[in-house]
């Protein structure tokens, strides 16, 4: 289990890590973070754990599926879609 001396730089990285992972930081801020974590193994590990958390969310597919669409519900949707197309043609 890695242990590491905490610093203000680590806290600054911690605060903007999602923006960094989203590639939403300005280049200079990005460079500052990369310069810090290049010499800070625990920050790299923390960033990696957050990156994997995000990757898991992106892959997440719930096991539950909705019940099959019933005939009455499908008829409602077909009718609504028909009206939508008719409105587009007349509009």
């Amino acid at each position: 289990m890695p242990l590491h001396t905490h610093s203000e730089n680590c806290q600054q990285v911690f605060a903007v890590l999602s923006d960094y992972l989203n590639l939403e930081l300005p280049p200079d801020a990005c460079a500052e973070i990369e310069a810090h974590i290049a010499g800070c193994t625990p920050c790299v590990e923390f960033a990696e754990s957050l990156r994997k958390t995000v990757a898991m969310c992106k892959q997440y597919q719930p096991a539950e599926l909705p019940a099959p669409l019933g005939a009455a519900a499908k008829a409602q949707l077909v009718a609504a879609y028909g009206k939508m197309l008719a409105a587009r043609k007349s509009g």
Binding site: F14, F46, M56, K58, A63, P66, M84
Partner: protein, 207 residues
């Protein structure tokens, strides 16, 4: 389905291509059901939200001229339908998450400095979310998030909508979306980290 394929599907739906209707309903009914199920908590509510959302999408599709905006439009309607369900059900107080509560656990070392503990995530494969136990843990962690954070993580990371789209759906600023997304991710990371370190009871094994 990739975003480009979703845009093409919306284009075909709007153009009245016969196969597009069935495909659109199947695709978004499942997506809205999943979102609503995690937002409302009840399967019955989620199925009603999915049906109400699709009906409103067709009724209001005249407002969507650009296929690229269809997905955000669907989720905007779904978000509002979920809010109506929640108003009818239990009142859940909004809880704000602060950055401080997600800092890794701090200890004072022998030299008086601070140190942190984190689990060893390096052994986890990138496709770990496909494993059933981890999927159940992640789902439980998402459910435990306060509603305002849960909706952001579902829209941004699960549905991969943009910050701008998510802000429009939730009717908040892009900065608020970014702030909530970061805190929601940190909350999920912390919960998963505690599970990996064995310091949090795995609720899924006692379900």
């Amino acid at each position: 389905m990739e975003r480009d394929a979703e845009i093409e599907l919306a284009r075909q739906l709007i153009a009245g291509k016969p196969a597009a209707f069935e495909h659109f309903v199947e695709h978004y009914r499942a997506k809205v059901f999943h979102y609503s199920w995690l937002m409302c908590g009840q399967r019955e509510d989620a199925e009603e939200v999915a049906q109400e959302t699709l009906l409103k999408v067709f009724e209001s599709a005249g407002q969507v001229r650009e296929p690229g905006k269809m997905k955000a439009w669907v989720f905007r309607i779904a978000k509002n339908a979920c809010l109506m369900k929640r108003r009818k059900s239990v009142f859940a107080p909004v809880r704000e998450l602060s950055l401080d509560e997600f800092m890794p656990v701090k200890h004072t070392n022998d030299g008086g400095g601070m140190r942190i503990e984190i689990a060893d995530w390096s052994a986890l494969p990138d496709n770990i979310a496909l494993q059933s136990e981890m999927k159940a843990l992640l789902e439980q962690a998402i459910r435990e998030l306060p509603e305002t954070y849960r909706s952001v993580i579902l829209l941004r990371d699960t549905e991969e909508l943009t910050t701008q789209e998510t802000a429009q759906i939730l009717e908040v600023s892009e900065d608020v979306v970014k702030t909530r997304l970061h805190r929601a991710r940190l909350a999920l990371r912390k919960t998963l980290d505690e599970c990996l370190r064995g310091t949090k009871e795995n609720a899924t094994t006692h379900a």
